[in-house]
Symmetry: C2
Subunit: 374 residues, 2 copies
């Protein structure tokens, strides 16, 4: 999530102009160090021969695609390196819409605002399905609402903004709906390194041509501004029209972006090769600690919240304080904590608030909230 | 030009598999050093605080936009930083097509293949207008062919693949055609630092809301793979629908790419501030020398060629050897020089060949050609 969508911009601005000290829990920018090999990779690249500064292949550096293909257990021909998961989702949604019959895109509500905006940009019919009480999209509800008109179903797991993780059964059932209606499941897995429930299952685990998986290194390597992501499309030996998705995405990618910035690709490649699993583990543990502290404060404040299972976010509702923009402003002014209003993510949780746990001051924020609601 | 469009890929591949030594004059990748401040900028960025690694503003780093706005004499609100000129042209063509009446895009023939492909991607009606004998698109011909159906006219000056530069009169006349039919002139000026004729005039020199100017640092800083470009849209105080172009481009950019890679933006900013004009002058002088040597060899070979006025390219026709793919292969095998067949750029120069002067071995290539045709 970046800071440009209007409600984000508004809240960031309001918080920065507030009189007192405000703890920023608005946007999903990691506040921790990237892997050391990433910085090393950039230093190394700065001294490279000039031919290394010229156009990489449009689909991405071959070695980076190989590393990704090997790790994800797919063929290298299925992988396109993109300008972050943003472009990966754009290619997946635009390509899916074009390839199959139907013009409907199904999204969860609350929704990550980029999916919503992109659906409008693509002139698709938008169906927002409210999540259940536990914060999960119910595959049976999706099944009931889907039809021949359905072209794309987007799922984000671990999820922004709900902070939940979908299990393998749910992903398999959603994939089943896509298969039944000759549609595509777009599975955005950018928070895959941030599952605390142990239930995260990639859509790649299921053998189906009806899925496109998107991901990026923005969160796992703490570099949301470097813009290196990827999409994994069905193999070209799959039945039509799924076999054509990767090639039409290559064309769309080439004609939109030509190629992706090479300094960032080269650094991510080095970090991918050299970073020990303990790096990811330590970051995950830090987030688990932050969640513990923050939810303890929510308990103390008598707040209702969706049990955090993954990603960086906690959705909460305070007694007598629905998550409107007015109340967000009030919490900034009077408690010194800035979150996002639920209404920024759709209708179903419009009286909730979203807090991003990407600040070293999470514990302090928790105390401020507990004291405010005492 | 990158190496992924099918004919480029084919020629590069053929050349690399040829038996003897082959001099590569196929693609437009600079073979010289970038400004030293660019490498410095990347080293500096590698040591930055972690918050510098997170999402930059979607429209680009403010300081970079300020530098560009100042140099180009426009308001900062008109500038969007893009993933190279590729994305800038995509935003300009897609946005122009959407904003004004008509569905026709007018292009010069020979055409830079990305304009052609993008026109197809956007489902626009394509009108290719052959250039005159001197390699220039004739504004009067464009005027005769344009109509109410015309939405966008794309001009590239200095030009790829013709190697010519348009003068101010031509740009003003093309702009006049755009104004007459409520269309947009998209002026791609990526080779603006490589004008040898002294006649280059930016479309920004004329006060009109009917133009979008695109550019990048790929050629001027010799980093085609870093992907930092920009588009300059009409001001928001211009009449409708031109006033809305920049805001709809911001939305399209955000929903396609979210933001542009920050290491590259930060480095370009530093290079833009610190690079002395003598850097650009030295690179231009090197290119003038290469052109002299190459055209002398063409003269010696009895070849016809379009007088080089700008960019990196020379279009030439050898006696009895039309620029088909077969003859390109023959020159690779028997002369050890790889160019591009004219047919890769449209119909009007399909029996010519394009040579990119981005090799330190230009003189050697020239000798090989002169000897071959002796």
């Amino acid at each position: 999530m970046d800071d440009d969508t209007p409600p984000f911009f508004y809240v960031m601005n309001y918080a920065s102009e507030a009189e007192g000290d405000v703890i920023d829990m608005v946007s999903g920018n990691p506040d921790w160090e990237p892997p050391e090999a990433l910085r090393e990779g950039l230093r190394e690249y700065a001294d490279a021969e000039t031919d290394q500064f010229q156009y990489p292949p449009s689909v991405g550096l071959r070695e980076l695609r190989e590393e990704i293909a090997k790790r994800r257990g797919v063929d290298i021909s299925q992988v396109i390196i993109t300008n972050g998961a943003g472009e990966a989702n754009h290619l997946a949604m635009a390509g899916g819409l074009e390839a199959v019959d139907g013009n409907e895109i199904i999204l969860a509500d609350p929704v990550y605002p980029y999916y919503d905006g992109r659906t409008s940009l693509l002139d698709a019919e938008k169906t927002l399905i409210p999540v259940d009480k536990d914060g999960h999209l119910n595959p049976e509800t999706v099944h009931k609402r889907a039809s021949e008109e359905t072209a794309v179903i987007v799922v984000n797991s671990p999820n922004n903004p709900m902070g939940v993780t979908y299990d393998g059964d749910a992903i398999e059932q959603l994939l089943g709906v896509a298969e039944e209606y000759d549609a595509l499941l777009v599975s955005d897995e950018v928070y895959d390194h941030f599952d605390y429930s142990g239930r995260f299952t990639s859509a790649l685990s299921f053998d189906s041509p009806n899925r496109i998986v998107t991901n990026s290194f923005s969160k796992s390597m703490a570099v949301t501004g470097w813009r290196v992501g990827y999409a994994i499309f069905p193999r070209e030996d799959r039945p039509a029209p799924y076999n054509e998705l990767v090639d039409s995405a290559r064309t769309r990618h080439m004609l939109t972006n030509v190629a992706i910035s090479r300094p960032a690709q080269a650094s991510v490649l080095r970090a991918l090769r050299e970073t020990d699993p303990s790096y990811y583990e330590a970051v995950r543990e830090q987030m688990v600690e932050r969640i513990d502290r923050f939810t303890s404060a929510l308990d103390a404040a008598g707040a209702e919240y969706t049990e955090p299972e993954g990603s960086f976010y906690v959705m909460a509702r305070f007694p007598g304080l629905p998550g409107t923009m007015e109340n967000i402003e009030m919490l900034i002014d009077e408690a010194g904590v800035a979150g996002m209003p639920g209404e920024a993510f759709g209708d179903s949780r419009s009286d909730w608030m979203r807090f991003a746990l990407v600040s070293p001051r999470v514990e302090e924020a928790a105390q401020r909230l507990a004291e405010f609601f005492e």
